[in-house]
């Protein structure tokens, strides 16, 4: 394992790969910093840029975007009280308060330091835990894999949204979209309406760009296109001082662990991690009354946690091929384009690609910290780019992205149609992450279920009997049922309290 990590360093430190990591982190910070562009959208828009890159280079580039964008989201939250990504809402509460007190520079610097520490610890956990999980994952057979997909989709649907029903419905819509095209085993054509462009199904990248970009373009068109009132506040010095940061070393540590763990759970993304990190730190804090009034500790707790999610969330994605949230789904969409098939064997077969990728995240984290400390005064201006310019630009990039994957005009139409569907669903408070998960995982679930059917008939038993003959599948089925029951209980309790929990997607 150590040799693999060292080999990973050798590849990640090749000049071009360093450049990819740097540009990825830079673009991530800039896109994440623009209000209205989340990490998911940033990756979806930049996947076409990677078409001609090597697989390693593309992954390193997109990984850099992921790290940079999660950090970048905090800039506009702290400076103008508009979160750049949903993950930045928690750190905004105190970060913006600090800016109002004239400590904006310190708030930004604290966020950089916290993001760096959280990000690095998450990646280190990833480096050492992923190979172990991958070894266990090798034992997974079709029946288990099918139920892992069902379990993951259930948790993403049930945890990641206000309403478990709406989340699960979104997942089913995604699975339905995934049935379009050729049957994975028999080759039968389904729902293609004689259109050759649909024979291979709806490409993941087209679904991704449509659902996330186009729906966001329409959301951005709702409000004022230009706000002339905004300006970047005075920053002052950025480095909060080592001694000041050292006072909160306990918070750094606890939030890193929490964030990584939350990242592991399908359904809970950086936004939820940040809130959990913040409330846990508040519970243990010596000065809980400062929270919400510009507490540096609160900024640290939330920013550490949301960046630690990056490493944690990549563990199920890389070892099982199962993304637990929208960002990793977008990243997996980028992987698919380069011929990496998600599944339990990904780690085994593609270790020479995955190790350099994981190691490069350490570089990407360093790069965004360097970029932030040296150039933030200039980069901070991106928060002023009006939505009236961002929205049409996103649209133009989306058209390139949808078209260039297969050079098919038809894909642009699919993208627009899915975008409209995505917009209407968002307006009705349906989460989008389960749909894209369904589109990615649908074919895998179907293929494995088909194999289970043949295995069962070979043993002359029904599929149900086959499922119940293996204890791992029984455990996964129990977990799936438990997730649904728990989410219903949670929802009923919240309704009794008469308050709605807010859980934005992303």
């Amino acid at each position: 394992m150590i040799e693999s990590i060292l080999d990973g360093f050798l590849v990640a430190l090749q000049p071009w790969n360093i450049v990819f990591a740097f540009i990825g982190a830079l673009l991530g910070v800039i896109l994440g910093g623009m209000p209205g562009i989340s990490a998911t959208l940033g990756i979806a828009l930049l996947v076409p840029v990677t078409f001609d890159m090597s697989t390693v280079g593309a992954l390193i580039f997109l990984g850099g975007v992921y790290c940079g964008a999660i950090y970048g989201g905090s800039i506009s939250g702290i400076l103008i009280n508009v979160p750049g990504t949903p993950a930045a809402v928690a750190s905004m509460l105190d970060g913006y308060e600090m800016t109002r007190q004239g400590r904006g520079g310190h708030a930004l610097g604290t966020a950089v330091a916290a993001s760096l520490v959280g990000g690095q610890i998450g990646v280190i956990v990833l480096l050492f835990l992923a190979p172990i999980v991958a070894m266990v994952a090798l034992e997974i057979r079709s029946a288990e894999f099918f139920w892992i997909v069902v379990f993951a989709m259930t948790t993403v649907g049930a945890i990641g949204s206000d309403s478990a029903l709406k989340g699960l419905m979104s997942g089913m819509i995604g699975l339905a979209v995934a049935t379009v095209g050729m049957h994975p085993m028999t080759g039968t054509l389904r729902f293609t309406f004689g259109e050759p462009a649909l024979y291979e199904g709806i490409p993941v990248i087209v679904g991704l760009v449509g659902l996330f970009s186009i729906s966001q373009v329409l959301v951005l068109c709702e409000g004022q296109g230009m706000n002339t009132q905004l300006k970047v506040p005075k920053l002052g010095s950025m480095w909060p001082g080592f001694r000041e940061l050292n006072r909160y070393r306990g918070t750094f540590f606890r939030s890193s662990v929490l964030g990584t763990l939350v990242g592991l759970i399908p359904g809970a993304g950086a936004d939820i991690a940040a809130f959990i990190g913040r409330s846990e730190a508040r519970r243990r804090s010596r000065e809980p009354e400062q929270y919400g009034k510009g507490s540096m500790e609160a900024v640290i707790a939330s920013e550490v946690a949301n960046n630690a999610v990056v490493g944690g969330s990549l563990i199920p994605m890389l070892t099982l091929g199962i993304p637990g949230n929208a960002v990793t789904a977008a990243l997996l969409g980028g992987l698919l384009i380069h011929g990496l098939i998600p599944g339990a064997r990904l780690f085994e077969d593609q270790g020479d690609i995955l190790y350099p990728f994981m190691v490069s995240l350490l570089l990407a984290n360093l790069f965004f910290a360097v970029i932030a400390f040296s150039l933030l005064r200039y980069i901070a201006k991106v928060i002023l780019v009006p939505q009236g310019i961002i929205a049409p630009m996103v649209m133009a990039l989306a058209v390139i992205g949808a078209f260039s994957y297969r050079n098919m005009v038809f894909d642009i139409y699919i993208m627009l149609a899915l975008g409209l569907v995505g917009y209407l669903m968002r307006k009705a408070a349906f989460p989008l992450a389960p749909i894209i998960l369904g589109i990615i995982l649908g074919p895998l679930a179907e293929e494995n279920l088909d194999r289970v059917f043949s295995l069962a008939s070979a043993q002359d038993i029904s599929v149900i009997q086959y499922f119940f003959s293996r204890w791992i599948t029984i455990a996964l089925m129990a977990l799936t049922v438990a997730t649904i029951v728990l989410s219903i209980v949670r929802e009923v309790r919240f309704r009794r309290l008469g308050q709605a929990e807010t859980a934005p997607d992303g």
Binding site: P48, V49, F51, D52, I214, V217, L218, C221, E222, Q224, G225, M226, P386, Q387, G388, I389, A391, P392, M393, M395, A396, V399, I400, F403, S404, N407, V409, I412, Y413, M415, L416, G419, L420, L424, K427
Partner: protein, 78 residues
């Protein structure tokens, strides 16, 4: 739908853009679309709109055609 006229007109612009691209070609259509949509969303003055459109077209051309060689929908007018 939402009844928000800004969204409805924006949706109309997106649809028009998507259907004209394969006919007229990417750069011509994108230029016209960007100018129309940016101006519609309230960006003023006019020279700012034109500067943004020109900058965007040059940027897209350099990055996607020159540097990356990504295929782009062609039409009658390039």
């Amino acid at each position: 739908m939402t009844g928000n006229p800004r969204v409805l007109i924006s949706l109309f612009l997106l649809t028009a853009y998507v259907f004209v691209v394969p006919v007229a070609g990417f750069f011509v259509t994108t230029g016209a679309y960007l100018a129309a949509h940016i101006a519609f969303l309230g960006i003023r003055p006019a020279w700012l709109v034109l500067a943004v459109v020109a900058g965007a077209l040059i940027f897209l051309y350099l990055v996607f055609i020159q540097f990356l060689g990504v295929p782009i929908p062609h039409g009658a007018l390039y």
